[in-house]
């Protein structure tokens, strides 16, 4: 009854939704399999953790780190803006150097050019250095169809070529393979036993690939950068295989995406720092080759050719798209993969088509089609960490939301997503019916029904609903219109309104005690689930409602304060993106987390610590808080009231991700548990008495995962300010 009442607009089972459910089942099965493959997951986890640590160390020591992301973004932005001009300049300069330059409009066109060239020159053996662009167009398949042997020479790529698989990780394609598996693959290929110690493996690889380098007629490489001013191709490798691929064979073919062109050496010099810093933490990749035209070999020019195939394949269309243009700023460093919580569990075989990981979702949608991207787009849980780590500050999460939107428009929405994104309708009813609704929701049978009918996992505890919501309480109480020079709107969001009005009351009281004039205009929950599930039209609607309500206050100098980091994140970053209006920009400027606001009040002497407390607390920074302040104001206030605060973090999300962890099965509860486990362990081994976090959903997850008490820090400091 309750359930049907708040499902007024749910779609019926049509052809399109069945399509979505089919995909959902396949993806769920893949996730389950990935969770079971413990060894792979552990290898991936350590590779990613190492990647994150190396990057953050490199970032910390980098000169000019504060402007670094801006610099990289500016270079890419300008280059994409000037693409036509740069393409012309590059082509002309490369041709001047004797190179053949070919602009391929799509995959078929590029493959045709290269295959025909190989046939015309009677090529039998091709050596290749790593090129994701060649994988995008599946070049090897087309060469092999003509009886031409193609050998990958990057070690990781070679291993997955022998295993007939796709890369598991962008920088470390074969990270899921053990030494023993590699030995088996090599033994089979070389038709002689290769033992599994590293030395034997390396000897076998070196010897067999050396033959390929020496006897290949064509070398195919990718390019990390193309420099227009000089007609130069830049190729970076740590192994040095590209040096051999681009020097020994008579014909060198470069396949490069059109978005890789920059203007000058100065810009290229910035990018060769950005690539390894973001990928491996190195200062420079071991070998960086700037190839300007073909060279003779031992004085001999005979038959030595350079062909540069510049690939469009949807890129120019992306450039014209307001939503996807930014994807072209990607420098292929893999940092977004290293920080992505769900990628870290399932790896690139599940979380990817050819382009893996977060940035792989928009890229796949644009170059391989929406259907391919929709197969793994639901793995994005909208934590937003990929944007925070991206060296070009690409708004990957928003592009993924757009892909999800296109998918639901074409193929329909899953019932559970539709239900959860309308959580507020449900909460309103549940509050009205409290305490009966709470009693019902605790019933096992009710949870089984909710799981079967809607897809809410019965294992996940749900918060209780309050009889009186915060907004009802605020409207009922006597109005206090005392004018003050410090003014704040309290933006309550879902949890503090429906589940924990006490938190909202504390926030208002604390602010009023500091002589802040508090207003609570009509408002709806921030609508993050709409973004997570691709319901962007609905997200825009709720954004518009809230902005219309908040804007007049922003113009009067009110700050807009929230106790939920996700709410501040929506107001500050997402609404302006969705609406793009001056009103939404002004509200964004005025939006602030409550602890940053409190710490401003404290430095002005308007609030004072009146009593101190003690204890060991583990602080959890929610992902959206990372984009705001990373919790530094909260941590320092907790320390000032006498607590021993440890920030405990794995470097990625806890896995709850709003309503994601409430969903039934692999694409929900199971995956959120797998993501959460390493963090739970850290908390349990830290010896803290309890956990503090501002996010209401992280709280649910951490309580369940650790068995520890989890508090909103406002409740902790409130007592210290009061007494």
């Amino acid at each position: 009854m309750v359930l049907t009442k708040c499902m007024p607009s749910f779609s019926t089972q049509t052809e399109v939704t069945r399509m979505t459910s089919h995909r959902y089942r396949i993806l769920s099965q893949k996730i389950s399999n990935a969770i079971l493959a413990k060894g792979r997951a552990a290898a991936l986890y350590s590779a990613m953790a190492r990647g994150r640590e190396a990057r953050s160390k490199a970032f910390a020591r980098l000169e000019g780190a504060e402007t670094f992301r801006d610099d990289i973004r500016t270079i890419k932005q300008d280059s994409i803006e000037r693409l036509e001009e740069l393409l012309g300049t590059f082509s002309e300069n490369a041709r001047q150097r004797g190179a053949k330059v070919y602009l391929a409009s799509n995959a078929e066109d590029a493959n045709h050019y290269i295959v025909e060239l190989a046939k015309a020159r009677n090529v039998r053996l091709v050596s290749k250095s790593k090129s994701l662009t060649s994988e995008e167009i599946e070049l090897n398949k087309f060469l092999e169809a003509e009886g031409i042997k193609v050998v990958e020479t990057d070690l990781g790529e070679r291993i997955i070529q022998l295993a007939k698989e796709k890369p598991f990780h962008l920088v470390l394609p074969a990270i899921h393979k053990t030494r023993q598996e590699v030995a088996e693959l090599l033994s089979a290929e070389l038709q002689k036993p290769v033992s599994d110690d590293m030395e034997s493996l390396m000897k076998a690889v070196r010897e067999s690939l050396r033959e390929v380098f020496l006897h290949s007629d064509m070398g195919i490489s990718g390019a990390n950068i193309a420099i227009a001013q000089t007609g130069t191709i830049v190729v970076e490798t740590n192994e040095g295989n590209a040096r051999l691929v681009t020097s020994i064979p008579k014909i060198h073919v470069v396949i490069v995406g059109v978005e890789k062109i920059v203007g000058t050496m100065r810009e290229a010099a910035k990018l060769i720092v950005a690539h390894p810093m973001s990928a491996t933490g190195q200062r420079l990749t071991n070998y960086v080759s700037f190839i300007s035209g073909r060279l003779p070999l031992a004085g001999n020019f005979e038959g030595r050719e350079l062909h540069i195939v510049i690939l469009d394949n949807g890129r120019l269309r992306m450039r014209d798209s307001a939503s996807f243009r930014e994807a072209l700023y990607c420098i292929r460093c893999g940092a977004c993969m290293n920080v992505c919580p769900t990628y870290g569990v399932v790896g690139g075989h599940v979380f990817g088509y050819i382009y893996p990981g977060p940035i792989g979702i928009p890229w796949t949608a644009e170059v391989h089609g929406l259907d391919k991207a929709a197969e793994f787009a639901p793995l994005c849980i909208s934590c937003g960490l990929c944007k925070e780590i991206c060296p070009a500050d690409i708004d990957i999460p928003m592009m993924i939301a757009r892909v999800k939107q296109q998918d639901i428009e074409a193929n329909g929405q899953l019932l559970v997503n539709e239900f959860l994104s309308e959580a507020e309708s449900f909460a309103r009813v549940a509050c009205a019916m409290a305490p009966a609704s709470n009693w019902l929701l605790r019933r096992k049978t009710m949870r089984i029904i909710a799981e079967r009918l809607i897809g809410i996992d019965r294992r996940r505890p749900l918060p209780e609903f309050a009889k009186e919501t915060f907004l009802q309480w605020f409207r009922k109480r006597e109005s206090r219109t005392t004018e003050s020079d410090s003014k704040a709107v309290y933006f309550v969001d879902l949890y503090a309104n429906y589940n924990d009005p006490q938190l909202g009351k504390m926030a208002v009281e604390l602010l009023e005690e500091a002589d802040v004039q508090v207003a609570v205009p009509p408002q709806k929950s921030s609508g993050m689930p709409y973004v997570s599930y691709g319901e962007l039209k609905k997200a825009e609607k709720v954004a518009l409602y809230n902005i219309q309500s908040l804007y007049p206050f922003a113009t009067k100098g009110f700050s807009i304060v929230s106790t939920e980091p996700t709410a501040s994140y929506m107001l500050k970053f997402i609404y302006p993106k969705l609406l793009g209006t001056p009103e939404s920009n002004l509200v964004a400027q005025h939006s602030i987390e409550i602890f940053e606001f409190l710490s401003n009040l404290k430095s002005k002497g308007r609030v004072h610590i009146k009593s101190r407390t003690s204890g060991k607390v583990g602080f959890h920074i929610s992902c959206h808080q990372r984009a705001l302040s990373s919790g530094k104001f909260t941590v320092s206030l907790l320390r000032e009231i006498g607590l021993d605060v440890k920030v405990i973090e794995t470097g990625t999300c806890c896995g709850m991700a709003g309503t994601f962890g409430m969903k039934r099965g692999p694409l929900g509860f199971d995956l959120s548990e797998e993501v959460g486990k390493p963090l739970f362990e850290l908390f349990l081994n830290s010896g803290v008495d309890f956990i503090a976090t501002e996010s209401s959903v992280c709280k649910i997850h951490l309580e369940q995962g650790t068995g520890l008490r989890v508090e909103h820090p406002l409740k902790i400091v409130k007592a210290a300010f009061e007494r």
């Binding site: 470390l172 074969a174 295989n241 020097s247 020994i248 990749t285 190839i291 070999l297």
Partner: protein, 190 residues
């Protein structure tokens, strides 16, 4: 200042598993090369064009050690370099903050000498060590603005490396597993 640059270069190259030696003159350079090739039992060696002085020094050392030098004009030059135990090249300049040797060539033969043999010995003059990547730009511009002759510039920051199997760092998978930079005319010779 120059001393500091040399130290910084050596430290940063060491971070990437490369070694740096310091020589005051050609004679001492030859001695360092002699030590490296004797310790590693180098039998064949390939080299790019070096100074007359150093060539003279080396020509007296190689026969004593029984080291055979590959002729630059050999018909099967590539095959021979592929079998060589060590390659000696000259770096046009070096970048201290990244521990990078900058090789600028107009013939791929020279690239092979630094990329095929398991040991790479690179010479760089002390005064050709620049502090940072920013300082490298004007030197590179000279290459590009001096005309349109084709070239390959390679930044080499240590031996060939991979961690593709189980994240274990392995040196020399395709190219050199040892890189020795010899800083020439150094005021802080070994």
């Amino acid at each position: 200042m120059q001393d500091n640059l040399q130290n910084l270069f050596a430290d940063r190259l060491a971070e990437q598993s490369g070694q740096t030696h310091f020589a005051s003159d050609e004679h001492q350079t030859a001695k360092i090369i002699q030590k490296i090739i004797a310790e590693r039992r180098v039998a064949t060696i390939a080299k790019t064009s070096l100074s007359d002085e150093l060539n003279l020094e080396l020509s007296s050392i190689f026969p004593v050690l029984g080291v055979e030098e590959i002729a630059a004009s050999a018909d099967d030059f590539v095959l021979q370099v592929s079998k060589a135990d060590a390659g000696i090249t000259t770096a046009t300049f070096a970048i201290a903050e990244t521990g990078t040797l900058v090789e600028i060539v107009n013939d791929d033969r020279e690239r092979l000498i630094s990329s095929l043999p398991p040991i790479h010995i690179a010479l760089v003059r002390a005064r050709d060590i620049v502090p940072s990547l920013d300082d490298a730009a004007p030197r590179l511009n000279q290459v590009y603005l001096s005309g349109i002759s084709n070239s390959v510039v390679t930044f080499i920051s240590g031996p060939s490396r991979t961690a593709d199997i189980e994240l274990r760092l392995v040196l020399g998978v395709h190219g050199p597993h040892e890189v020795h930079a010899i800083v020439l005319h150094s005021d802080r010779s070994d």
